[in-house]
C-alpha cells in the first residue's frame, strides 16, 4: 500500500466514524425534546405542590427517573398506590432523604467544563434553607428522625491520572446551628476498644438513631466495619465487620445492610442482610441479586432498595425477616424516603 492509499483509507475511516459519532451526538442532543414527552407506558407525572410535613396520607418521596418533563425531579406518590400518579416538585436532586420536615437534596450544578455539586437543606415545603459545596459526586444522604441532623457521602477522585481509585467523604451537618463536620475522618476511632489511626480509612452511609447517635460504614485495610458514632463526643467505635450502607429500623433495634458474601463474583459481591443489634445475629434476606444501595425501611417489617433498570433505577420492596420474595414497588424511581 502506498502512503497515498493509506491516507485515503484513514480519511475514509475517519469520515465514517465521525458520521457515527455525529449521529450519536445528535441523538443525545435531541433527547431534550424526548424528555419533554413522557415515554409510552411510563407512570403519569404532573407538576404540583409537594410537602414533607403532615401529609394527609402516607407518601413516598423520591427522585423521579421516568422520561418526561419532570425527569430527575423530587416527586411524591401515595404510599398506598405506588404505581399511581406522581406529583413532581420542580426541585431536581441526584440523591435525597427527608425526615421530621427537613429534606436534604444533593444536586449537580452544571458548569462549562465540569459539574460541581452541592448539598441543599430544604424545609418542609422544599424551599432552600442553606447549601454547602460538595467535594465530589454525591451518593448517600440521610436525615435524623427529628430532622435536625443531616449527613451525606460523596465520592472523591475518579480523576483520569489517578485511575478509578475512589475514596469517600462523609459529612454531618447540624441544621439548627449550622455546624458542619466536613469529614468523619476527623472523628476519634476505636476498634475493639483500642484507638485506631489509619491512612486508608473511608466512611460512608450514615444512618441516624437520634440527634446524637448514628451508624455508618468504615473501611480500612480492605475490610468494612459497622461503626457506631456519637456527634457530641465526635467519636466512632466498631461494632461488627462486613457491613456496608447500614439502615437503622424505625424502632432502632435492627440494621439492614449489604454484606460482601464469600464465593460470589468479585464484581457482584453484595447480598442484603439484617443485623439484630441486641443479639448481633445476621439474617439473610430473600433477594437473590447483588444489591448496591442503602436500603430504607418502609415500616418495621419491610425494606425498600433500588436496582438498575432501563430507566436507570427501579425500587423493590422485601420483607426484613428473610421470608417472602422481592416485589417491584415502583418503576423509574431512586432515593425513596418515607416522611413521618
Amino acid at each position: 500500500m502506498t502512503f497515498r492509499t493509506k491516507l485515503l483509507v484513514l480519511l475514509t475511516a475517519v469520515v465514517v466514524l465521525a458520521a457515527v459519532a455525529a449521529a450519536a451526538l445528535l441523538r443525545a442532543g435531541d433527547r431534550a425534546a424526548v424528555r419533554d414527552h413522557p415515554q409510552a407506558g411510563g407512570p403519569p407525572v404532573v407538576a404540583g405542590q409537594v410537602s414533607l410535613a403532615h401529609p394527609p396520607a402516607p407518601l413516598i418521596v423520591f427522585r423521579n427517573m421516568a422520561y418526561g418533563p419532570h425527569r430527575d425531579e423530587l416527586s411524591t406518590v401515595r404510599a398506598g398506590d405506588p404505581a399511581g400518579r406522581r406529583t413532581a416538585s420542580g426541585v431536581t436532586c441526584l440523591r435525597f432523604h427527608a425526615a421530621g420536615g427537613t429534606g436534604i437534596c444533593l444536586q449537580a450544578e452544571h458548569g462549562t467544563l465540569t459539574d460541581s455539586y452541592r448539598a441543599v437543606v430544604l424545609d418542609s415545603r422544599l424551599r432552600e434553607v442553606a447549601h454547602y459545596a460538595l467535594p465530589g459526586i454525591p451518593t448517600r444522604a440521610r436525615v435524623s428522625p427529628s430532622g435536625r441532623l443531616a449527613a451525606w457521602t460523596v465520592f472523591v477522585g475518579g480523576d483520569s491520572y489517578a485511575g478509578t481509585d475512589f475514596s469517600t467523604r462523609t459529612a454531618i451537618l447540624d441544621t439548627r446551628t449550622g455546624r458542619l463536620d466536613p469529614s468523619l475522618e476527623a472523628y476519634r476511632v476505636t476498634r475493639d476498644g483500642r484507638a485506631l489511626h489509619a491512612a486508608d480509612m473511608n466512611f460512608w452511609g450514615v444512618t441516624f438513631a437520634d440527634d446524637r447517635v448514628f451508624y455508618a460504614t468504615m473501611a480500612t485495610g480492605g475490610k468494612t466495619y459497622l461503626v457506631r458514632g456519637d456527634v457530641t463526643t465526635r467519636s466512632l467505635s466498631t461494632l461488627h465487620t462486613n457491613v456496608e450502607c447500614p439502615s437503622l429500623s424505625p424502632d432502632g433495634t435492627r440494621i439492614a445492610y449489604k454484606k460482601r458474601v464469600a464465593g460470589l463474583p468479585a464484581d457482584s459481591p453484595w447480598r442484603l442482610y439484617v443485623l439484630d443489634l441486641r443479639t448481633m445475629r445476621e439474617t439473610a434476606l430473600a433477594e437473590p441479586r447483588s444489591v448496591d444501595d442503602q436500603a430504607v425501611w418502609q415500616d418495621g417489617r419491610t425494606v425498600v432498595y433500588s436496582m438498575p433498570s432501563d430507566f436507570g433505577s427501579d425500587l423493590y420492596a422485601l420483607p426484613a425477616d428473610g421470608t417472602g420474595a422481592p416485589h417491584l414497588l415502583m418503576r423509574a424511581a431512586l432515593a425513596p424516603a418515607y416522611p413521618r
Partner: protein, 431 residues
C-alpha cells in the same frame, strides 16, 4: 513503508554526533505516539464520566470498582507479561498490539449495553486486558524503531503524546455531556469511534515487519539461550546488566510512594481545599507532558540511568518539600512540578535504558519483565506506606520513605547499572 527506508542513521552512528541529534524521531514512534494519544483520549473520556454515570445514571456506587481496581491492575500486570512474550514469538509485536488496542476499543460500545455492576465489571476487566496486552509490544516497537542514541527522546515524545491524550479525554467528555442531555451513550459511542481511529492508524502507519525495524536497532544481537521461549525470557535475568538494572528499578520502586498518597499528603499537610483535590493529578500530568521530551533528550545526552536516578532525586525533593516547614502558596505547584518531573525522568527513560541491554528478539518480554517488576515493587511500597502511616502518622511515614529512597538511590548509584545500559556510547560495547 518500513522504518529503515525513512531513516538514515545506521546502528553504528556516533552516539553524540550532531547527526544523531538532528535526526527526527522515527516515523514509527510518531505513529505509535499518535495511536497512544488517540487511544488515551478515548479511554480517559470513559474514565472521567464512569463514576458520574454509575452514581447519577444507574444509582450504583463506584466504590466497588475502587476496591476491584487493585485486582484488575494486578491482572493487567500479568497480562502484560503474556503480551510481551506473545509479541516476541515470531516478532508479532504489531499483531499483539492490534489485538490489545482492538479489544479495548470494542469494550466502549459494550458499556452501552450493560447496566448492572457485574457486567460493567466484566467489560472493564476486558478493557484492562487489552491495555495489558498492548503495552509491552508497543514499547518494544518504539525501541526497535529508534537508533540507540535517540531512544530516550523517542520514548519522551511517545509519553508526551500519550499524556496529552490523557489530558484531552476528560475535556472532550465534559463538552459532550454539556452539549447533550444525559449524553453518556454519546460519550461511549464517540469514545469507541476515537479508539477505532487509533486502531486504524496503528494498522496503517505502524510497520509490522521486524526485519525492517531491526536494522536501525543497535541492541545486543546475541540471542539468549533457547531463542524466544518463556525460559529464555526469564533467562534474561541471568544477564548481569539486565539483573542490575532490574534490581535498581525494583529497589527504587520499593521507595516510591504511590500517587494517591502524595496527593493525600499534600492535602493533609497543606490544607488544599477539597474541591481542588481532583485537580492535583492534572498538575502532575501537565508537568509530565512538558518535561517528557526535554528529559528524554537529556537522557540521550548524559545517560539514561543518570536521568532515571535524577528523577528519583526530584521525587525525594518533593518529599522534602512536603515535610519542610515552608508553607508558601507556591508549595503545591512546586511539589506537583517535581512529581511530574519524576515521571518524565523515569517512565520512558527506564524503557530506553532497559532496551539497551535486552536483545531485540526478547525486547518485548524484557521490557514487560522490568515494568512488571517495578509495578510490583511500587505496589508493595503502597502497602507498607499505608501501614506505616497508620502506625507512625503521615509525617513519620513520609520521613521513612524519604530515607529509604535516599538509601536506595545511593545503592543504585554505587551499583552503576549504566556501565552496561545507561550511556548510549557504551551500549555497543555491551553487545
Amino acid at each position: 513503508m518500513y522504518v529503515a527506508d525513512s531513516r538514515g542513521a545506521p546502528a553504528t552512528a556516533p552516539a553524540r554526533g550532531p547527526s544523531g541529534r538532528r535526526a527526527a524521531v522515527a516515523p514509527t514512534v510518531l505513529a505509535l505516539g499518535s495511536v497512544s494519544l488517540i487511544t488515551d483520549v478515548s479511554s480517559e473520556m470513559v474514565t472521567a464520566v464512569l463514576p458520574l454515570y454509575l452514581v447519577t445514571g444507574l444509582g450504583l456506587s463506584p466504590l466497588g470498582f475502587g476496591l476491584l481496581d487493585g485486582v484488575y491492575n494486578g491482572f493487567s500486570a500479568l497480562v502484560r507479561l503474556v503480551g510481551g512474550h506473545l509479541a516476541d514469538r515470531g516478532g508479532r509485536h504489531k499483531s499483539v498490539a492490534v489485538l490489545g488496542y482492538g479489544l479495548s476499543a470494542i469494550c466502549k460500545p459494550l458499556l452501552l449495553l450493560v447496566s448492572s455492576l457485574p457486567l460493567i465489571g466484566a467489560v472493564l476487566a476486558a478493557d484492562r486486558t487489552g491495555k495489558g496486552l498492548r503495552t509491552a509490544p508497543r514499547d518494544a516497537m518504539i525501541s526497535l524503531a529508534s537508533a540507540p542514541e535517540s531512544r530516550g527522546r523517542a520514548f519522551g515524545v511517545h509519553r508526551a503524546m500519550d499524556t496529552a491524550g490523557a489530558l484531552l479525554g476528560p475535556l472532550v467528555a465534559f463538552v459532550i455531556l454539556r452539549a447533550t442531555v444525559d449524553g453518556y451513550d454519546a460519550v461511549f459511542t464517540v469514545s469507541f469511534c476515537v479508539a477505532a481511529v487509533g486502531v486504524v492508524v496503528l494498522v496503517l502507519f505502524v510497520p509490522g515487519a521486524r526485519a525492517g525495524a531491526k536494522r536501525t536497532d543497535g541492541a545486543p544481537e546475541r540471542p539468549a539461550a533457547g531463542g524466544v521461549s518463556l525460559r529464555a525470557a526469564v533467562g534474561l535475568l541471568r544477564r548481569r546488566d539486565v539483573r542490575r538494572l532490574s534490581v535498581c528499578a525494583l529497589l527504587l520502586g520499593l521507595a516510591t510512594v504511590s500517587d494517591s498518597f502524595v496527593y493525600l499528603l499534600l492535602q493533609h499537610r497543606l490544607g488544599v481545599p477539597d474541591r481542588w483535590f481532583a485537580l492535583l493529578p492534572l498538575g502532575t500530568a501537565a508537568a509530565f507532558l512538558l518535561l517528557a521530551v526535554p528529559l528524554g533528550w537529556l537522557a540521550d545526552l548524559v545517560g539514561r540511568w543518570q536521568v532515571f536516578l535524577g528523577g528519583h532525586l526530584a521525587l525525594l525533593a518533593a518529599y522534602g518539600l512536603i515535610l519542610s516547614s515552608w508553607h508558601g502558596a507556591a508549595l503545591p505547584y512546586a511539589v506537583l512540578a517535581l512529581h511530574g518531573c519524576f515521571y518524565a525522568a523515569t517512565d520512558g527513560v527506564l524503557m530506553a535504558a532497559a532496551a539497551g541491554c535486552v536483545p531485540a528478539e526478547l525486547r518485548s518480554s524484557g521490557l514487560a519483565l522490568v515494568q512488571t517488576g517495578q509495578a510490583a515493587a511500587r505496589f508493595a511500597c503502597s502497602l507498607a506506606f499505608g501501614t506505616a502511616w497508620s502506625v507512625w502518622g503521615d509525617r513519620s511515614a513520609l520521613g521513612a520513605a524519604a530515607v529509604a529512597l535516599a538509601v536506595c538511590a545511593v545503592f543504585s548509584y554505587r551499583l552503576r547499572p549504566w556501565a552496561a545500559a545507561g550511556t548510549p556510547g557504551t551500549t555497543g560495547a555491551a553487545a
